[in-house]
Structures are given as structure tokens and as C-alpha cells.
């Protein structure tokens, strides 16, 4: 008898309050019906085992769904996740990188800042991903329970039931022409990081020296920040254009001739601007050359020669990679 009570309790405690009593009464009389007049404990157990796990029995009594996100909204749920998560990661990384560069004072060595930032970024990404996952899931559980209860079809990314009309919006992407999303995001991050570095060059690029084993300390900036700033009215529009091209790429998702042309024009002009800035004789911090000459015990002209050589190498490398990049995009668009 005790077992029957326990069984009935195990079933009904999982059910909504209002149906509990009725089901308990019915279940108890049914179990008793199944048992002979003076039953043993063994017979009792036999009967209960034919009824099976109380949790399962309770589940079949309930008519609310036993899942959080059902097949109707699953597709939309996954699609939303895939859309949002890359952006969340990108923004998290970007915010931290920009913050670190802006706040960089040169008192700590670059390496230790980079290592520390790396750890913080990973931790932030995990934190933000958990948050994103949680909130999107909550919203979709809500949609599952309330919004979709009436309609039979599943929702698509248009937020409506599927019709053949939607096929008109489907973009069949040729694999050869496709621009990977990762490439676009990387391009965006790259541009922003360079702009921030450019504006903060006097805090970051310079002559570093280890003093009394206390890590690297910046002795003097390598570049003339005023000269850099005087070019800012040209550099900034180009950075914005780069971002614009990235967004254009994101939208098109494949190389088209129009995209190749716009991209090539912007790239070529950027290289020209870069060459002008890099070859400006006042760009280098004047105080640095005599300082390096005495420190390294070489004459002034060798230092000058070294810098000239370095600048032109960098420019040459940039020109070559830009040409390769433009040719590559042209090849893909023609494919």
C-alpha cells in the first residue's frame, strides 16, 4: 500500500495542481483494480512496473511541450545564433583592442600588454558568448511557447511561413567567387587597429630599452606625431572608405567587377598616400637618429641609409602585395 501511495505521489507531484487530485484518485483505483484481493508486495511491484517510470507517465499526462525549442523555431534559432555570434565576438575584440591601445602609456612592455590583453579578450568572449546564448535562447523559448502556438508551419528567416516566393531572394553563391565572412571581419578589425595605432603612434612606436631589468621602457618616439596628425584629414577618409568596401563585400558576398574596381581604386590611392607619408623627410623623429648613432656606435649617415632602405622596402612590399591582392580579386570575379 505504501508503494502505491509513493508511486501516485511520484506521478502527481509532476503535474499541474488542478489535475492532481483527479489523476491521483483514478490512478490509485486503477492500480487496485489490477491487483488481486490480498496482494503481496511482489505483486504490487509487478503491477507498478507495468505502469513504468512515474516520470514518464507524468510526462504523457502533460500536454505542454517537453522541450524548450521545438522543430518549428529551431531553424530560426540556429540562424539567429550564427548571425549574431560573429558580430558579438568581433565587437568584443575590437572594444578591448582599441581600449588597450588608447590607454597604452609605454610604462609596461608591449609583450606583457599583449599577453595580458589576450587573456582578458578570451575571458570577455566567453562571458559575452554565455550572455548572448542565454538571452537569444530565452527569447526563442518565449516565441516557442507563446508566438508559435497557433501556426502549424515553421518560421523561416523572413519571420513568416515558407512560400515558394522566398526562393526569389535566395542567392546561389558560386564557390569560386565567394568572399569568406571571416576575411571581411578580419579586414574591418585590421583597419580599425591601424587607425588607432596611427593616432597613438607616439605612445607605441619608439626606441625601447630595458632599464635595470624592469622591463622595456620607451626612450623616445620613433615618429613625429605632429607630422602624422597633419596627414590625418587624408588618412581618415581612406580608413572610412576601407570600412565602406568591407561592408560592400559583406553585402555582395562575392567578387563582382564593380566591387573589384572600387576596391582597386581605393587600394591604389591608399598606397600612394602611404608612400607620400612614408617618404616625408620630417616623419622620423629628428632626435632619434643621433641617439641611435651614439647608442649603436655607428655614424649618422649609416643610420640615415638604414632608415631610407627600410622605408623603401616596406613600400615595395606593400605595392607588391596590393597588386597581388587586386589581381586575385579580378581573377575571382572573372571566374
Amino acid at each position: 500500500m505504501k508503494l502505491i501511495e509513493a508511486y501516485v505521489y511520484e506521478v502527481t507531484r509532476r503535474l499541474p495542481e488542478k489535475s492532481r487530485n483527479d489523476i491521483a484518485l483514478e490512478l490509485r483505483s486503477t492500480i487496485e483494480d489490477m491487483l488481486p484481493e490480498n496482494f503481496t508486495e511482489e505483486e504490487e511491484m509487478d503491477v507498478l512496473s507495468t505502469l513504468g517510470d512515474p516520470a514518464r507517465l507524468a510526462a504523457s499526462y502533460r500536454d505542454t511541450p517537453m522541450y524548450l525549442i521545438g522543430p518549428k523555431v529551431y531553424d530560426a534559432y540556429m540562424w539567429t545564433m550564427k548571425m549574431i555570434i560573429p558580430w558579438v565576438i568581433l565587437i568584443t575584440v575590437l572594444v578591448h583592442v582599441v581600449e588597450t591601445i588608447v590607454l597604452f602609456s609605454g610604462e609596461e612592455s608591449i609583450l606583457s600588454v599583449v599577453i595580458k590583453s589576450f587573456g582578458i579578450i578570451i575571458a570577455n568572449i566567453i562571458h559575452v558568448l554565455i550572455q548572448t546564448f542565454f538571452w537569444i535562447t530565452i527569447v526563442f523559448i518565449f516565441i516557442e511557447r507563446i508566438g508559435m502556438a497557433k501556426s502549424n508551419g515553421s518560421i523561416t528567416m523572413f519571420g513568416t511561413e515558407w512560400t515558394p516566393e522566398q526562393l526569389k531572394h535566395v542567392h546561389v553563391l558560386p564557390k569560386k567567387k565567394a568572399i569568406p565572412r571571416g576575411e571581411v571581419i578580419f579586414g574591418l578589425v585590421w583597419t580599425v587597429i591601424w587607425v588607432v595605432l596611427y593616432i597613438n603612434a607616439d605612445h607605441i612606436a619608439g626606441v625601447y630599452r630595458s632599464i635595470d631589468g624592469e622591463g622595456l621602457q620607451m626612450m623616445m618616439p620613433a615618429l613625429n606625431q605632429e607630422v602624422l596628425m597633419s596627414y590625418l584629414p587624408i588618412v581618415l577618409p581612406f580608413a572610412l572608405l576601407e570600412i565602406g568596401v568591407a561592408l560592400f563585400k559583406w553585402k555582395e558576398r562575392q567578387w563582382t567587377m564593380r566591387l573589384v574596381t572600387v576596391n582597386a581604386v581605393i587600394k591604389v590611392f591608399s598606397v600612394v598616400v602611404l608612400t607620400i607619408i612614408a617618404t616625408n623627410p620630417t616623419l622620423l623623429n629628428e632626435a632619434m637618429i643621433p641617439y641611435l648613432a651614439t647608442e649603436l656606435e655607428i655614424n649618422l649617415s649609416s643610420v640615415h641609409n638604414f632608415f631610407d632602405w627600410a622605408v623603401w622596402t616596406v613600400i615595395a612590399v606593400i605595392i607588391v602585395t596590393t597588386v597581388i591582392e587586386i589581381y586575385d580579386s579580378y581573377r575571382k570575379a572573372k571566374a
Partner: protein, 115 residues
């Protein structure tokens, strides 16, 4: 092979369950008496499926129920409603066409094999 076959069989049987239950409720039955009637006819049914099914059919207004407290233990009796009878008749017709169609299909299969 065993468990897979069992899954298919359970699936097949589940579809026919409502029909089997409705057919036996023209006279009022309580849970266990219904189980016995079905078992006597050779319809094996999991009891943990049957009792929730009865409640669901009642909620869908195919059945009505009443408690009988005159006996030593109270029993809940279920009987088919008017709406339930209508559904039952239509469902029965569906079943008959379906078995007829399937029979033809399965027969065709046998003929193919002997050809």
C-alpha cells in the same frame, strides 16, 4: 534488427490506438475494464499510454467521464460523446480505405516477387 522492428511496430500501433479505444467506449468503461477488453481482443496496450490518452480524448470532448462512488472503490467511467461518435465513424472509414489501399500495395509486392 530487434529494437528497430520494435520501434516500427510501436509506431504502427500508436496510430490505431485512438480508434481501438473509441470502439470500446460505446458502453461506459473504467480504466482497467477497458484494458481487459482490449487485451481480450488481442490489442496489447501500454497502460502508461492509455490513461493519459483517455484524459486527452476527454479534453478534446470525444469522451465524457463520471465518477462512480457507489462501489467499494471509486471508479472513473468513460463513455463516447456524440461528437466522439461522429469522429469515430469517420476515422473508421479512413481506416478501412487505408487498409484496403495498403492491402493492394502489399499484394502487388507479392505478385512482383512471384513473377
Amino acid at each position: 534488427m530487434g529494437p528497430l522492428l520494435e520501434t516500427f511496430t510501436t509506431e504502427l500501433r500508436r496510430g490505431t490506438l485512438t480508434l481501438a479505444v473509441l470502439s470500446q467506449l460505446r458502453t461506459p468503461q473504467y480504466g482497467y475494464s477497458l484494458v481487459q477488453r482490449l487485451e481480450r481482443a488481442g490489442v496489447a496496450i501500454e497502460q502508461s499510454t492509455l490513461y493519459p490518452l483517455l484524459r486527452r480524448l476527454e479534453k478534446q470532448e470525444l469522451l465524457t467521464s463520471s465518477w462512480d462512488t457507489t462501489e467499494s472503490r471509486p471508479r472513473k467511467y468513460y463513455v463516447i460523446s456524440e461528437y466522439g461518435s461522429e469522429i469515430y465513424e469517420q476515422l473508421k472509414k479512413e481506416w478501412e480505405t487505408m487498409t484496403f489501399e495498403l492491402k493492394t500495395l502489399l499484394k502487388g509486392d507479392e505478385n512482383d516477387e512471384t513473377d
